[in-house]
């Protein structure tokens, strides 16, 4: 114990504020070098224990035929990966991601629009900000259940539509196209707030004088958006696009809770979960998860190549 107190007391001594010709003692220097790492200890431990160790474990499982519970597991080499790539039906589910990709275009455009509008002085500005961001705060499971009632036969959506005299007699989750569109719409509703906040933050970091100057030069709102806002938030925009694409490839929560992947709404992650927990093919499912991870990394890499992250220079 005394040892530690001694050490802990030591560091202030060699600080630049303290005059004296003697160089800092060895232990003190070591201690100073270790300080940032000590602060990082907690987050790094969490990161390793809950992110990197499970990933390493998953990679290890992907080379076995483990069923998820049996104490017996065998090394199968690249067997799972071979199976994965020789079964085209396992990749067909990526078509479903197309719906979510299309939805994320809508989502980004809408978020950008709202962020731009609300960054200017509008009445009830904060209220609208809250309304837009609120869905993102709700638990995904709750959202799934709420929207099940929403899409039910004679549910919220139908009653709202009938208020306007529209009497649709359709099962919203009934056919693959309509079910996927409905689910994608739910995910737009849910994630719009996040994109909106990111954009709003970026827009507000643009110095206000620029708008004033532009206005003096006779630029209207549209010009301001095109020449000030759009270039100003480019890094955030490209980040959002990356997040949307990887998000579309790995959709899970909403379709899993609402339809369980029935009626053609199965996504790659749902399929992986079913392989692991329904058919007890934990090895194959781990391989599928690794492949998805690689796909997402590859997409991100390509995108960074296409749209390099150059410095924003507004002036």
């Amino acid at each position: 114990m005394t040892d530690t107190t001694e050490k802990a007391a030591a560091p202030p001594a060699p600080g630049p504020a303290v005059p004296g010709p003697a160089p800092a003692p060895r232990t003190a220097r070591l201690w100073r070098g270790a300080t940032p790492w000590l602060f990082l200890l907690a987050p790094l431990t969490l990161l390793i224990v809950f992110t990197y160790a499970p990933i390493a474990n998953m990679v290890a499982y992907s080379f076995t035929d483990w069923d998820g519970v049996s104490p017996e597991l065998h090394y199968t080499g690249a067997g799972n990966y071979t199976e994965l790539f020789t079964r085209s039906d396992l990749f067909e589910v990526f078509w479903v991601s197309g719906y979510y990709l299309a939805a994320s275009v809508v989502q980004i455009v809408a978020a950008l629009y709202f962020a731009t509008v609300l960054s200017f002085n509008v009445r009830f500005r904060n209220f609208f900000k809250g309304v837009l961001f609120f869905p993102y705060l709700i638990n995904g499971v709750a959202i799934g259940f709420v929207f099940l009632y929403f899409f039910q036969d004679g549910g919220t959506l139908d009653s709202v539509l009938s208020l306007f005299g529209v009497h649709t007699d359709r099962a919203w989750l009934g056919t693959p196209a309509s079910a996927n569109t409905s689910l994608a719409a739910v995910s737009v509703w849910r994630y719009l707030g996040l994109n909106f906040v990111l954009f709003l933050g970026a827009i507000q970091s643009i110095p206000g004088e620029l708008y004033e100057a532009a206005e003096l030069d006779g630029a209207n709102r549209r010009h301001q958006f095109r020449h000030i806002i759009a270039p100003g938030i480019k890094p955030v925009l490209s980040l959002t696009v990356i997040l949307s694409i990887s998000g579309s490839l790995s959709v899970f929560e909403i379709p899993y809770i609402m339809t369980g992947g029935a009626t053609g709404t199965e996504t790659f992650v749902i399929q992986t979960v079913k392989l692991a927990f329904q058919f007890n093919k934990t090895g194959l499912a781990s391989a599928a998860a690794v492949v998805l991870l690689l796909i997402v990394l590859a997409v991100t890499w390509v995108q960074r190549r296409l749209v390099p992250d150059d410095k924003v220079d507004l002036v």
Partner: protein, 437 residues
């Protein structure tokens, strides 16, 4: 740290973790002997159960108190698990999974000797108990279901009567005609799929045995084609397909609700559901709560007859077993035996008793009157069926293929029933061939 060291460390960690995953399984072949003297056994045992409802309302505690009269030195504690399958499966990677537990469905039969203590030989147990071969591995029995159920149609008697139907249908066609009569003469939904909650659809697999009236139905699943002409599953799936095709189901199957369906059948808004005798008590309960007459809930067998007789299979619920790592195996065994033989758990649930000489429950009284033959399926090949099922990803006990079937029938996806069933049959028989080789 440069990039290469990071890579090396990660790879090292991966290999290390891979080495750690092969755990357990050293103690094998332990036995949980029935205690000779009830007053001598002692210890505190934990019972894992999926019946969260019974733990919450104190029913389990009442059983434990009753048990304590015979075994004064044994203390029983309950651990109710909501997501039983998912959670217990993970806990079973350690040694700490209670003293007594229900065997999760995912545990492969061949692994039973690693996880559970044996209860004796099938020869001695099958004299007294049903369902013995469901847990028999290499001449030892590892579990005992505390109750059994008989699959069948739950129906609202009043609605069926109102449609002018007095007798149970004896063929699938007759059944369809009856549902059509219900649709045209009453306001009820003739058949409710419970599509969204998924598991009710898996119940259709339990038709297996009722059509062929053959105790070897499971063996034929393992060795033959379940979707061959006239086979049990083909008959069941065709009936389900026809019911949906004819529009005799709820308007929007994708947003069904299991909890809400119970009072609805009690009130006669729904006429029929394929479930099992276990559901009758729940429906009657729902009827009482909804202010309807519990006696309206009826129960009928699958509409197929052999030699003028209906057949129905007796199926076990979760099988109860003793943890091989338990420190109080005798006490655990005492609980298991007492719960099976003396607790009255089966009777309380209007379920089939696992004791062979026990009388049939009231629910099945109509079965007795009509002379429905009750089959005990031979489950010797049960493990093979499960292996084929998982390997082929057909999932006869999983909801996916029946959901696809319903989608096909209501025209949400394109294709013909024959092609669909042929596709399933191909996957199934191909896997049989690859496992056999």
């Amino acid at each position: 740290m440069n990039r290469r060291t990071v890579l090396a460390i990660t790879t090292g960690a991966a290999l290390l973790l891979a080495a750690c995953t092969g755990t357990g399984g050293s103690s094998k072949g332990a036995e949980a002997k029935a205690p000779d003297d009830p007053s001598e056994v002692s210890g505190t045992i934990t019972v894992l159960t999926h019946r969260t409802d019974l733990v919450q309302d104190g029913t389990m505690k009442a059983y434990a108190a009753e048990f304590g009269r015979t075994y004064p030195k044994v203390k029983v504690e309950f651990d109710a698990v909501t997501d039983y399958e998912g959670e217990v499966k993970i806990r079973m990677n350690t040694e700490n999974y209670g003293d007594v537990l229900m065997i999760p469905g995912v545990i492969e039969k061949k692994d039973y000797p690693r996880f559970f203590a044996s209860l004796g030989t099938p020869a001695e147990r099958s004299k007294k108990y049903r369902f013995t071969d469901y847990t028999t591995v290499d001449g030892k029995v590892y579990g005992q279901s505390p109750l059994g159920a008989v699959p069948g149609f739950i129906y609202n008697k009043k609605v069926w009567q109102r449609a002018g139907i007095t007798d149970w249908p004896t063929t699938p066609d007759e059944f369809l005609a009856d549902l059509k009569a219900i649709k045209s003469r009453t306001d009820s939904v003739p058949y409710y799929t419970n599509f969204k909650d998924m598991w009710p659809l898996t119940q259709w697999t339990q038709v297996n045995g009722s059509v062929s009236c053959d105790e070897q139905a499971t063996t034929r699943l393992a060795e033959g084609d379940p979707w061959a002409e006239g086979a049990d599953l083909r008959t069941a799936d065709t009936l389900l397909y026809d019911i949906v095709r004819e529009g005799l189901v709820e308007k929007d199957p994708t947003t069904t609700n299991w909890e809400a369906s119970k009072p609805r059948i009690a009130k006669g808004e729904i006429a029929t559901m394929w479930l099992g005798s276990w559901a009758v008590i729940q429906m009657r309960g729902a009827a009482e709560q909804a202010g309807a007459d519990p006696d309206d809930i009826g129960f009928m067998p699958f509409p197929v007859q052999r030699n003028g007789k209906f057949c129905a299979v007796a199926l076990p619920d979760y099988n109860q077993a003793v943890n091989i790592h338990s420190e109080h195996k005798e006490a655990a065994r005492a609980w298991l035996d007492w719960f099976t033989d003396k607790s009255g758990y089966a009777a309380d649930n209007l379920a089939l008793s696992p004791l062979k000489d026990a009388p049939l429950p009231d629910v099945l009284a109509p079965y007795e009157e009509q002379g429905v033959e009750l089959l005990d399926l031979d489950d010797t090949k049960g493990a093979e069926v499960k292996a084929i099922d998982n390997r082929s990803e057909v999932g006869i006990n999983k909801p996916d293929y029946r959901q696809d079937l319903v989608d096909l029938a209501r025209g949400a996806t394109k294709g013909s029933l024959d092609d669909f069933l042929a596709g399933l049959a191909k996957k199934w028989t191909d896997t049989q061939a690859s496992l056999g080789s």
